[in-house]
């Protein structure tokens, strides 16, 4: 296979207060996959994304994006944090939040202008939220807030997208809308990495999967490795048997 490696994680170890959250992770993610990271609560899924993005300092290990350190590849990466990580009562509008996606390319001090506004409006349209552009963000539903976050990442026009539980607390309509956008991104050759909780939908939504539980268990195409063996190793119970009961 001559596929390029989009993200490479090497010997990554992260700990909060002496307790390891991620232990010696080696992981390489090929370009152009739509990948789910699955694992039980406390498995370090969000931590993995956050340490790849430099939000959390690892104890050891390194991360490269297309062969170079992340700090030199920021323009190639976009991030959708967990919806609950911000205060939605902040005095701002949907359009304004989406505009924040342009701040990285603007750099320090420079203000967003007409070009940035146009980009933000286009992203809002893509996620079906154009009608809500002037809405105060606290007056949006949970699914709408998630779409705003997605639009903010789309504005970054990156090659790799990291998303932390984008389906959490959204209704079926929004879930379908979001997964369609993710599939479109993959079609456009982007790499999409999603922290995901719903094992039932993994085969339907994703083509690549990583099993994680503090240690890295397996990474590969869903059709090859999404099986009982890996699920049991990750969750410690025979998942399919447990579901059938």
């Amino acid at each position: 296979m001559t596929q390029k490696i989009a993200v490479a994680v090497d010997d990554l170890t992260v700990a909060y207060n002496y307790k390891p959250v991620l232990w010696d992770i080696d992981l390489s993610i090929p370009e152009g996959v739509l990948m789910a990271i699955v694992g039980p609560n406390g498995a370090g899924k969000s931590t993995l994304i956050k340490s790849i993005l430099g939000i959390i300092d690892p104890i050891a290990g390194s991360v490269t994006i297309y062969g170079k350190p992340y700090s030199r590849q920021r323009d190639k990466v976009a991030y959708v944090p967990q919806k609950g990580s911000v205060d939605w009562d902040f005095p701002t509008t949907a359009l304004d939040v989406v505009m924040m996606g342009t701040y990285g390319s603007l750099g320090w001090i420079k203000r967003p202008g007409a070009k940035q506004k146009k980009q933000a409006l286009e992203a809002l349209e893509k996620v079906g939220m154009l009608a809500f552009k002037g809405r105060q963000i606290s007056q949006l539903s949970g699914g709408q807030q998630q779409r705003i976050f997605l639009a903010r990442a789309l504005v970054q026009n990156a090659a790799i997208y990291f998303m932390d539980e984008p389906f959490q607390g959204v209704d079926a309509t929004t879930e379908i809308a979001i997964i369609n956008i993710l599939k479109e991104l993959r079609k456009a050759g982007k790499t999409v990495i999603v922290v995901h909780h719903d094992l039932q939908t993994v085969p339907e939504y994703f083509d690549w999967v990583t099993f994680l539980n503090v240690k890295h268990i397996a990474t590969g195409p869903v059709k090859d490795i999404f099986n009982d063996d890996n699920l049991t190793k990750t969750y410690g119970i025979n998942y399919k048997v447990a579901v059938q009961q």
Binding site: N17, K50, L53, G54, I55, S71, R74, V77, Y79, P81, S85, V86, D87, F90, P91, T92, T93, V97, M100, Y103, G104, L106, W108, I109, K110, R111, P112, G128, Q136, R152, T173
Partner: protein, 370 residues
């Protein structure tokens, strides 16, 4: 005193200008403190500044307010730094760290103040003005200092507006975009400390945090835009200063600091009750209005269920048949007619096409528009 004296009296004019500028900068920077959920940081910093004032006096023996304020600035910054250290290095939460530093520094400051008061040179009279503030001691050079600091912080705020907003809303995201969040965070904290320090002489360490929080809390009620909130907070702060000074000067020289803080509190109360979007009063009114609206819709839907059974929707029905229906009154009928949902003819009513459409789509409003 009369009103002309108010505008001609040089001392009073200086004090008014000083408290106005102070109110403006505190409101402006206080908005950031409130949105950063660090409202109590201001309280901790102002208390932490007290030992700095005492130490500066002990070292230099001077009562020059600028030297004392540098002492306040240094110990305020040390306090802030320690609070951050405690939060990042231990399991303790921010409120605990704030409480610890606040009481520790304030206690130490009081200890030094009592020590100074027992010194024989007794040049200390006036140091205790930093406890509750004494606006009357403001002189022109103080006002110039305040205005300069306000000008600089305004400039910095305008330059880094985008960065400030991004950091306040989503710090982690700001990090991934490549912004140095420690620098932005530090910049905001530094200017908050600066605003507090220049206010100590006027309002005092005990009440200073109210100057920071009250205008911002009031402003938040009126707007959903960050820029409008900051401007409004500055205006509220400014008026608190001006009105507070005027009241204290006209009422037998009441202590200015507390009066300013009370005026700011009045702004807060008015905002909490009367602001159109978030105020208690309008929330209640909206609730009542919505309830009436719902009752109206319920009646309309009941009528719709009758009309639906007939081919001709405009066919008249007797008002009598509504009598068994809960919530129906003469008022409801006339309101329905006003909305052009029904037509009343004598003892009969009939539904309009518009009413029919409205009723048919009443409970579909949550679906996406086709």
């Amino acid at each position: 005193m009369d009103i002309t004296q108010y505008f001609t009296d040089y001392t009073l004019r200086t004090i008014t200008l000083g408290t106005a500028v102070l109110g403006a900068i505190c409101g402006m920077l206080g908005s950031f403190a409130v949105l950063r959920k660090q409202s109590l940081l201001g309280d901790a910093i102002s208390h932490a500044a007290l030992p700095g004032i005492a130490v500066a006096f002990l070292l230099t023996g001077a009562k020059d307010s600028n030297i004392l304020l540098i002492g306040a600035l240094v110990s305020g910054l040390i306090g802030t730094w320690w609070i951050r250290g405690i939060v990042t290095k231990t399991h303790l939460k921010t409120d605990t760290a704030l409480g610890l530093i606040l009481s520790l520094f304030f206690g130490f400051g009081m200890l030094l103040l009592t020590y100074i008061q027992k010194q024989p040179n007794a040049n200390q009279a006036g140091l205790d003005k930093y406890l509750f503030g004494q606006a009357a001691t403001l002189v022109e050079s103080d006002v110039i200092l305040m205005s300069t600091v306000t000008g600089i912080s305004l400039l910095v705020m305008l330059l880094f507006w985008k960065e400030f907003k991004l950091l306040l809303f989503d710090k982690n995201y700001a990090m991934t975009l490549g912004f140095n969040t420690k620098f932005i965070d530090g910049l905001i904290s530094f200017f908050i400390v600066l605003a507090i320090v220049i206010g100590l002489q006027t309002v005092g360490v005990v009440l200073m945090s109210a100057m920071l929080l009250a205008p911002a809390a009031a402003a938040r009620q009126w707007t959903n835009s960050l820029s409008v909130m900051v401007i409004l907070a500055a205006i509220f702060g400014m008026f608190s200063g001006v009105i507070g000074t005027a009241i204290s000067a006209s009422q037998n020289n009441l202590s200015t600091g507390p009066v300013i803080v009370l005026v700011a509190a009045v702004f807060v109360i008015i905002s909490f009750v009367f602001s159109p979007g978030r105020g208690i009063l309008f929330k209640q009114l909206r609730l009542l209005k919505n309830r009436r609206e719902l009752e109206l819709q319920k009646t309309l839907y009941f009528m719709y269920s009758i009309v639906r059974k007939h081919d001709d929707i405009s066919r008249p029905h007797a008002i009598r048949i509504l009598n068994n229906f809960q919530g129906f009154t003469k008022g409801t009928l006339s309101q329905l007619e006003q909305k052009d949902w029904i037509v009343i003819q004598g003892t009969n009513w009939s539904m309009t096409p518009r009413g029919f459409d409205t009723a048919a789509n009443l409970y579909n409003s949550n679906l996406p528009e086709q």
